[in-house]
C-alpha cells in the first residue's frame, strides 16, 4: 500500500468524492423534478471526472457521453414535456418514509462497509494476465481488447440490450413520431456547425479506440447526440424512426453474430478472432456498432419525446433538407 505524498489520501480525490456525494444527495433529496434533474446532470459530470481520477479514461468518456449526455437529454426532455400534478403529499407520510428509508439505508451502508473493509488492498491477478494477453488480441488498447476480444460475448449481449431497448421503445411509440418541420434560423445554424463536428468527433473516437481510450460505445454516444441534434434542427433524413432506422440498429447486432459464426468457422470456437485478421475484424465491427448504437440512442430519445413533438411542429412548411446525413 504505497503512501501518497503528504497524506494517505490525495486532497483532490477527497474533494471530488465529496462533490460527487453531495450532488448525489441533492439529486435524491430535491422533491421537485427540475432540481433533481439538474443535480443529476452535475452528478454525471462529476462522476466522469472521478473516473478520470481512478485512471479509467475510457469509462470517463463513456460516462460523459452516455451518462451525462444522452441520459441527461432524455431526462430533460421528459421534464420539458409535462409535469404531472404532484399528488397531495401529506407531510407526515413523507417524513415517515424518509425516516424509514434513512434508517434502513444506514444499516445497509454500515453492514456493507464492514464487508467492504474486509477486502484486501492488493490488486487482482486478473489485470496483469489481461494486459499481457493484449498483444495476442489484435489491438493495443487493453479496454478495447477486453471488450471486443476477450469478453466479446458481453459486448454482443450489451449491444443486444441496446438494440432491443430501441426496438421495444419504437414499438411502444411507433405511430406518433413526427418530423420537425420548421426549425427556425438558430437551429439551422446549429445544425450546420455542430452536427458535422460531432460526427467528425465520433469518427475520431472510433478509430482512436484501437490504441487509446475511445471505442465503439463512446463514438456511438456522440453519434447519437449528433443525430438527435440534427433531428431537432429539422434534418429530415436524421429522423431515426421507421424501418430504415431499425435496419441500421439491427445490422450491428447481426454483424456481431455473423462475426461469431465466422470465428467458429475459422477457429472452431464462437467469436474467436484469429490474430491475423483480428484487427480488421475489430475495426469493422466497431464501425458498425457505432452506427447501431448511435441510431438506437437517437430512436430511444425520439420515442421518448414522440407525442409532444407533433404539437410543436404544427406549423406547416417542411424545412429544406440540410446537409447529408453522416
Amino acid at each position: 500500500m504505497t503512501v501518497i505524498a503528504f497524506s494517505d489520501v490525495d486532497v483532490l480525490d477527497m474533494l471530488v468524492v465529496a462533490a460527487v456525494a453531495v450532488t448525489a444527495i441533492l439529486a435524491i433529496a430535491i422533491p421537485r423534478r427540475v432540481g433533481a434533474t439538474i443535480a443529476f446532470l452535475v452528478f454525471g459530470l462529476l462522476l466522469a471526472l472521478l473516473w478520470a481520477r481512478v485512471a479509467a479514461p475510457d469509462v470517463a468518456i463513456a460516462e460523459a457521453a452516455l451518462g451525462g449526455g444522452v441520459a441527461g437529454a432524455l431526462l430533460v426532455d421528459a421534464l420539458h414535456r409535462r409535469q404531472p400534478a404532484q399528488p397531495n403529499r401529506d407531510r407526515r407520510r413523507a417524513v415517515a418514509i424518509t425516516a424509514v428509508g434513512a434508517a434502513l439505508g444506514a444499516v445497509t451502508f454500515a453492514a456493507l462497509a464492514t464487508v467492504l473493509s474486509r477486502l484486501t488492498a492488493e490488486p487482482a491477478d486478473l489485470g496483469p494476465l489481461a494486459l499481457e494477453a493484449v498483444e495476442r488480441s489484435g489491438v493495443s488498447h487493453p479496454i478495447t481488447a477486453v471488450l471486443l476480444n476477450f469478453r466479446n460475448l458481453d459486448t454482443l449481449l450489451e449491444i443486444a440490450v441496446v438494440v432491443f431497448a430501441a426496438v421495444g421503445a419504437a414499438a411502444l411509440s411507433r405511430d406518433r413520431i413526427r418530423t420537425v418541420t420548421d426549425p427556425g434560423p438558430v437551429r439551422r445554424v446549429i445544425a450546420v456547425i455542430i452536427v458535422p463536428a460531432l460526427v467528425l468527433l465520433a469518427a475520431w473516437l472510433l478509430v482512436a479506440g484501437t490504441s487509446e481510450p475511445g471505442g465503439a460505445f463512446q463514438a456511438g454516444a456522440v453519434l447519437g447526440a449528433a443525430l438527435i441534434i440534427a433531428h431537432l434542427c429539422g434534418v429530415r433524413p436524421a429522423r431515426a424512426a421507421g424501418g430504415r432506422a431499425l435496419v441500421l440498429v439491427v445490422a450491428g447486432l447481426l454483424a456481431f453474430i455473423l462475426l461469431g459464426g465466422i470465428g467458429l468457422a475459422a477457429t472452431g470456437t464462437w467469436l474467436a478472432l484469429d490474430l491475423s485478421w483480428a484487427f480488421a475484424a475489430i475495426l469493422a465491427i466497431e464501425t458498425l456498432l457505432t452506427v447501431s448504437i448511435g441510431v438506437a440512442l437517437a430512436m430511444l430519445f425520439l420515442a421518448a419525446g414522440s407525442r409532444d413533438d407533433a404539437a410543436a411542429a404544427d406549423r406547416a412548411a417542411d424545412a429544406p433538407a440540410l446537409g447529408g446525413a453522416p
Binding site: A71, D77, A121
Partner: protein, 98 residues
Amino acid sequence: MTTLQLFMYAGAFILVLGVAATLLVRDLIRRLIALNVASGGVMLLLLALADRGDGEPDPVPQALVLTGIVVMAAVTGIAIVLARRVEQLDDDLEEVEQ
C-alpha cells in the same frame, strides 16, 4: 483510510442512497434518477477495486463498468418511454393489480 477505502465507502454510500430512493420514491422520474445514481455508486466501487495497486489498472472491470453504463443508458431510455406513456394516460401511478 486509503484512497481505495475512500472510493469504496463513497461507492457504497451512493449505492445505498440510490437503492433506498429508488424503492421508496413514488414519482417515476425521481425514481429513475435514483436508479442511475445507484448504478453510479456500484460502478465507482468496481472501478475502485480495479485500480488497487499502483501499476496499470485492471482493464477487465473497466470494460465491465463500460458495459454496465451502456446497459443503464438503455434501461433509462425505455423507462422514460414507459414513464411518458404512463403520464400521458395519467394512469394511476399506484400500479396495483386491477
